[in-house]
Symmetry: C2
Subunit: 422 residues, 2 copies
């Protein structure tokens, strides 16, 4: 049932996205658009994700075991907001993850996602020294606790089950499983010989999500971690399960998005998007990159932005950023900024290619500002005005720039066109 | 006629590219592959560009008016070599451009390209105070002089003629002409009311190129400088002229490549590649980016890498890099490095998507190194080992990394797979 709060959010989003309220409602009903927003939360910048909307960008924050400073994670949140993140995920897996999450929730004006299995694993590790001491009940309890705290969307690694595990084992991959949630569950499953609780008790998770209006982001434990493993039987078999669970969740009125790879070369990205849209009934696709090569260490934000832009053009709806420190270390605040801006560019490139009018207008405005050498206006429209200004100002020129200086093509052309067109 | 020097270069290239000598020769004969190498030059790292070969990356160097330090340009050359540029172009347009060019030619182990019209413009500016004092003869003289000096490939802006100028004027673009060579020629044409000398005297240029074995890179004066101008009548009309001139040059045994945009949104890149290949008879396509948005000021290397990777996948053969300082200032040495690495990633992503076996092997090797957490091996394969090492080492961990630390998915999975597969 639509509350008054719901209506005001829908109106705000419809206006921002320049679509009608009726169309937005229709797509939400179909499940091709979702709004990640816990019923208990009030935030200033909610967003909708999916069909026909602006492509959204998520920033991953969070501490890890041994690297747990709340103040730094808060700074990462602040810089994410400043540079236009649409959502953040707190992926903390350090001892103080509860404190980090609460701080993020208290301070974030945008939707916040988490991966509850991390807290279950950390809890088992702290209390009993090993993650395999998690129980289905302890996992469900944590999901419920985080729901109460106001988390807006959960990654649930429900696609790794006995069937897909078998497919995976037969596959003999180069890089096996790189999903942290997937690795935790594989560990638990191989130690307990039991079914993945996130799959087995998916109905209970649906109930919690329904109670709090939480979006379930179905995680891909079997996403490829190497270009050579992309689009293999294991990955697609898991996607089939995620499609089944999408239907199950939707029948109960719970919103679903699907998580995608990972590492995929450019020639396979379109096929990945088409497969997800077909197998998962048009559910919004949330891709991690994808990285178009495995060898871009230190520059994975660029390898990821390439894949993300093309994926967005092909129909991906939601891009999870990657930073320059991917595969190497927990990102610093500066890395978060670098990764986010690379992905804002990718999302915008996707928007342009998909014919988004607002995106198009930005490019028109900056092109005109460039024509008239209105530098301040250009900086204002760009993703990082300070950097742009610094680069231009460092040479002291005002009207033109030091690339061409006296031979500025725009200025030369301006002069003779005035003459030619007179 | 194939000399002994030619044969040894062909053999070296065929081996590096893992294709047969016969196939390489056949493609050179057809014109779908070119080798930019002046008969007077001996270099250690020649390369071939075109059909079925590894995608190549060019770095633009060079001073501008008021920003002319030979030592800095030499440093840019050195860093380009270090990070794997395949060719460099000296785009100097400062007072000392001759000195810069000679220094680059003396020190470059890779092919060097130039844009002779720049020197003609600078000469006219210095001697007579205005670029419109260039004459057809002064331009031809400079082309001949640079050929004698050993330049390996020339950008010749021969596609802007009276016909395409008319098409352009009727088009009413947002950002008119952004090509510096195009702007210089437009200036000259509108002032003298004469035909573009690079078009009118193209036969003479062909003769010079033939004498020295120089590759002609047919420049696109009318390339779009805004997403909104991409793939318009002006751009395509110029491409038609470039196709005609390609045929003309080939008939005289001169090798040709075609320069391409510029600013193009993702949805139009494939069409641009197909059009070039059809209209210009399969001539190698040399794209500048393309930038997939106009608003990425300060991050144009990323907007360019996105377009370049996708263009390479669609069939572009040769990528001209873009640096973070594009549209803002002459790049610093550090900017050159940033731009080059972004484009090396793009080229490699293109290679993977095109099924290049050597590229594939690199990703396989780094994936295996990642699996076994062989960090040094990973750094070695990556584009910038120092940066990768710095990012990993900054947290002091050795076996894993601080992203997941205790919860390293690869390590967790390794452990249970050993158990599961036993």
């Amino acid at each position: 049932m639509e509350t008054e709060k719901d209506l005001s959010i829908l109106k705000k989003i419809a206006q921002e996205e320049e679509i009608s309220l009726a169309l937005l409602r229709e797509r939400i009903k179909k499940g091709t658009v979702v709004i990640p927003l816990n019923k208990k939360r009030k935030i200033n910048r909610p967003c909708a994700i999916g069909e026909g909307l602006r492509v959204k960008v998520n920033v991953n924050l969070g501490s890890s075991w041994g690297y747990s400073r709340v103040d730094i994670e808060l700074k990462k949140l602040e810089i994410s907001i400043k540079y236009g993140a649409d959502t953040v995920m707190d992926l903390s897996i350090g001892r103080n993850l509860e404190k980090v999450r609460k701080t993020i929730l208290d301070n974030s004006p945008i939707p916040v996602g988490t991966v509850p299995i991390y807290e279950a694993a950390v809890e088992a590790m702290i209390k009993k020294g090993d993650i395999t001491y998690m129980t289905p009940q302890s996992i469900i309890n944590i999901i419920e606790k985080q729901a109460k705290e106001g988390v807006d969307f959960f990654t649930i690694h429900c696609g790794l089950n006995k069937k897909t595990l078998e497919t995976f084992l037969k596959q003999k991959r180069i890089l096996d499983i790189v999903s942290r949630g997937g690795a935790i569950l594989l560990n638990w499953m191989s130690s307990t010989k039991k079914e993945n609780p996130l799959y087995e008790y998916f109905d209970e998770i649906i109930e919690i999500a329904k109670d709090y209006g939480i979006v379930l982001s179905l995680g891909d434990s079997l996403r490829p971690g190497s270009i050579l493993d992309a689009t293999d039987r294991a990955q697609i078999d898991e996607l089939i399960i995620l499609g089944e669970l999408t239907q199950k969740a939707r029948e109960k009125g719970v919103q679903v998005i699907i998580e995608g790879p990972g590492h995929v070369s450019l020639d396979q990205i379109e096929a990945n998007i088409i497969a997800e849209k077909k197998l998962c009934h048009g559910a919004p696709f949330y891709v991690l990159g994808p990285l178009v090569t495995d060898i871009a260490l230190g520059y994975d934000h660029i390898a990821g932005a390439i894949g993300a832009a093309y994926a967005a053009y092909c129909g991906a709806d939601f891009l999870c950023y990657v930073t320059p420190s991917e595969h190497l270390s927990l990102p610093t605040v500066e890395d978060v900024k670098e990764g986010l801006i690379a992905f804002k560019i990718a999302a915008h490139a996707g928007d342009l290619a998909r014919g988004n009018k607002k995106a198009y207008l930005k490019d028109k405005k900056i092109s005109l500002a460039r024509k008239y050498r209105a530098w301040e206006k250009q900086f204002e429209i760009s993703f990082d005005p300070e950097k742009a200004k610094f680069y231009h100002r460092r040479t002291g020129l005002k009207d033109v720039c030091s690339m061409c200086s006296k031979f500025c093509s725009i200025k030369m052309v301006d002069k003779c066109l005035n003459f030619l067109l007179k």
